[in-house]
Symmetry: C3
Subunit: 109 residues, 3 copies
């Protein structure tokens, strides 16, 4: 058993869950926030048998899109700058950040 | 040190935490959502010494109940059906889904 | 790759994220609740290369403060007492509780 922890963009979550559920997988959704942009995103916990990890990862790859976000630089530039810079900055946010962790034991009760 | 990640139903959380706290355990609660029913549930993080894992799991087993949920089929049936089926569908939700993961290092500061 | 799961107090989160982002680290924030005090706190997921774990832990140590919380004993004392005790109880809450877990595989997509 492996636990996949995937941080994805909110816009992809519903479609991703539909794909995963239709294939018989189970998942749990946690509302989260990005540490850099401080904007909402979603963290999914997906427990799967070892031999299914690559299928789940390819579903995530298929569904989750990279997007560019315009960010007010006040939140994102180097904090040592004292002057106020009005022009927005473009930051690319990847489709998904995925950690796969070995599960020592799994039980449903 | 092991980290127990337990997905439980909201109705059992308060009693479960009381039991765990009374036994001197510590836990952190995360609000979560089921991937299939898209309804609220709770994910608990419980860090315990290796030799206490089975005691915590038996407390979870004792407190967390299996329940049947009536679900409007629109959210739950096979998406290939085009016709609208008005009768609700019963889905059994287990008391707890529990992942136990080895902790490489643990520190309180 | 290691996944650091750090439970910290809300008051330290913004400064901690600023420190971590400025050093080029990435993190995801989850709103959480303490199992004992039932008060809000924050759980951070921080994926780092193995050789950077100790630097991240020392940043957490530097930023996160231990605080004393006054708690109405109704929520915290032994439940077998029937009498109502009006005087508040002081509970010390540590700066951070940190679990470090080995990551089997990591992927950005
Ligand atoms: N210290 C830093 N300096 C400069 N640019 C930075 C930065 N940290 C992040 N970024 C950039 O900002 C995007 C959004 O990051 P955020 O932290 O809001 O949202 C992140 C975060 O919630 C999560 N994430 C990514 N890597 C992570 C890691 N190693 N550990 C935990 N969470 C991670 O995935 C989301 C998307 O990450 P992604 O890498 O695709 O996209 C990132 C990256 O392009
Ligand atoms: N391997 C795993 N990884 C991560 N989280 C997991 C997991 N297995 C279970 N969970 C979590 O535990 C909740 C209860 O699962 P349970 O299997 O008892 O009860 C489930 C199961 O009886 C059924 N179900 C779940 N996924 C299904 C699917 N793909 N197809 C058909 N039925 C499904 O619906 C009930 C509610 O599921 P829901 O997703 O709303 O809520 C799930 C989900 O949040
Ligand atoms: N092994 C573990 N697994 C998962 N999460 C963990 C953990 N150890 C600590 N945490 C998380 O860190 C928060 C602060 O814990 P700390 O031990 O510094 O500070 C604790 C501790 O001094 C005390 N405490 C916790 N559990 C207790 C218990 N069963 N009996 C007596 N005192 C307890 O109350 C303070 C606040 O606890 P609270 O639960 O509200 O909030 C906890 C909890 O959210």
């Amino acid at each position: 058993m492996m636990l996949i922890i995937a941080v994805v963009q909110d816009q992809d979550v519903s479609r991703l869950l539909t794909f995963l559920m239709d294939k018989g997988y189970s998942a749990t959704k946690l509302a989260s926030t990005g540490g850099f942009l401080r904007q909402g995103n979603t963290t999914l916990l997906i427990g799967v048998n070892d031999d299914k990890v690559s299928e789940v990862i390819s579903i995530i790859k298929e569904v989750c899109r990279t997007r560019k976000r315009l960010v007010s630089p006040l939140a994102a530039v180097d904090r040592t700058l004292n002057t106020y810079i009005p022009t927005p900055v473009e930051v690319e946010v990847g489709g998904a950040t995925v950690f796969t962790i070995k599960v020592d034991s799994f039980e449903k009760m």
